[in-house]
Symmetry: C2
Subunit: 245 residues, 2 copies
């Protein structure tokens, strides 16, 4: 018997909790494994008590950074060797978080860009869906522009109706009620010329389940699955996602 831990994939989850757990599930589901023992050892700290990220950035709500730093320390002490944060808005604090840990943190927006390329979308117009903070503070726009993409951002009213409303519904476990408003958000971006749409908040893939996406007739990239693929690649020593900063 050999109880040795080459190290966990450490997941700073809870933002929200359904998204955090779904991320861990998608890591397992997307891993090429034939038995239990070939899967990625994962430690999910699904702590929903972290203050709301959008509230902090947009309305002066309580700062989530100390909670997230504490989460990173917890995962580092527990034996994580790499960190994934299945929350797009939390990446507004990416630099502060990276400075707070010796571990590499996979960057969710880089993972989405890798996912667009994996789907063969190396340029073009990308429609964005996400929280008001993610969209207002250009979390996606800056990084996508650097990679040669153009962004299409919903109007303030569309963000309210087609991003915030389904995100809230998912957080309140009213997943079925989230489908139609989120689908309409993707359709509007497609109508405005989007070559692909980013589900740039980890609640949005839960609003739009995989089997309902083909009907939207526009390629979607899903920030949960993109980050799961990045984590699997990292764990199996693919170099692509090694440095995300």
């Amino acid at each position: 018997m050999n109880i040795s831990h080459p190290g966990y994939l450490g997941v700073l989850g809870g933002m929200g909790p359904l998204a955090g757990a779904t991320f861990a599930m998608r890591v397992a589901a997307l891993t090429p494994a034939a038995t239990d023992q070939q899967h990625v050892p994962t430690l999910l700290r699904n702590d929903p008590r972290i203050p709301d990220r959008s509230d902090a950035r947009m309305r002066g709500g309580e700062d989530p950074l100390p909670y997230m730093r504490e989460g990173l320390r917890f995962l580092e002490t527990a034996g994580a060797r790499v960190i994934a944060i299945p929350c797009n808005t939390a990446h507004l604090w990416y630099d502060e978080l990276a400075a707070a840990t010796a571990l590499p943190i996979l960057h969710i927006i880089d993972a989405v860009i890798d996912d667009l390329r994996r789907m063969g979308i190396a340029r073009g117009r990308i429609g964005l869906m996400g929280t008001p903070a993610t969209l207002a503070l250009n979390l996606y726009q800056d990084r996508l522009a650097r990679h040669g993409y153009e962004c299409i951002v919903p109007t303030a009213d569309e963000i309210d109706r087609h991003c915030v409303a389904p995100i809230r519904a998912v957080k309140a476990n009213a997943v079925a009620a989230a489908l139609e408003p989120a689908a309409e958000g993707a359709r509007r971006l497609r109508a405005r010329g989007a070559d692909a749409v980013v589900l740039g908040c980890t609640e949005l893939p839960l609003a739009l389940p995989h089997d309902r996406r083909a009907a939207l007739d526009v390629p979607l990239t899903d920030s949960i699955d993109a980050l799961a693929r990045a984590a699997i690649d990292y764990y199996f020593d693919a170099p692509l996602h090694r440095q995300a900063a």
Copy 2:
């Protein structure tokens, strides 16, 4: 700011990993919560390196108990206040595990019995699906008999085709291939007079997704959801599941 942890729901997962992560997801999905902050803080140690439980009991394979004990110590040190183990076969070691930790461990078979009652099935014939070890060592039969139920157990050949085959398929991420053999297992138990069928291995609910169950025309109890409900009840201080030993 107040970083205080009243304690995690500690999940000894990885047996298998998709089941462990799905359990965490179902805890979030079944919790009556309106915002992130109202969810159950969960710490999932989804470590798939624990040796196979059925191999150990049926074929003299490596003993998983030291690994599971180490997992319990890990969760206890990390701040768990109650333990859930989303693996039925692991409950063959329940007494040894309970003796190894000061924390209460929710018992998955008791959770299934509570779930049968919740569905209004307080007596009758219960068809069992599970691993060969779970079925051969009477993990369900003894406890169900104590509560006045009668059990219908598949034949050795049926266990191979309709339990082991779909369980292996799920562990290898071939979930679609698991559906038909698992469904046929439930249909055969119904044909032999089962009033309900227990998906008594945490891979089986993944083989038979919720939206495919109505077609089977027999009530199913799902050991992942049953344990998730027990954990939520415990966390919100419902007394029912307080003592499972």
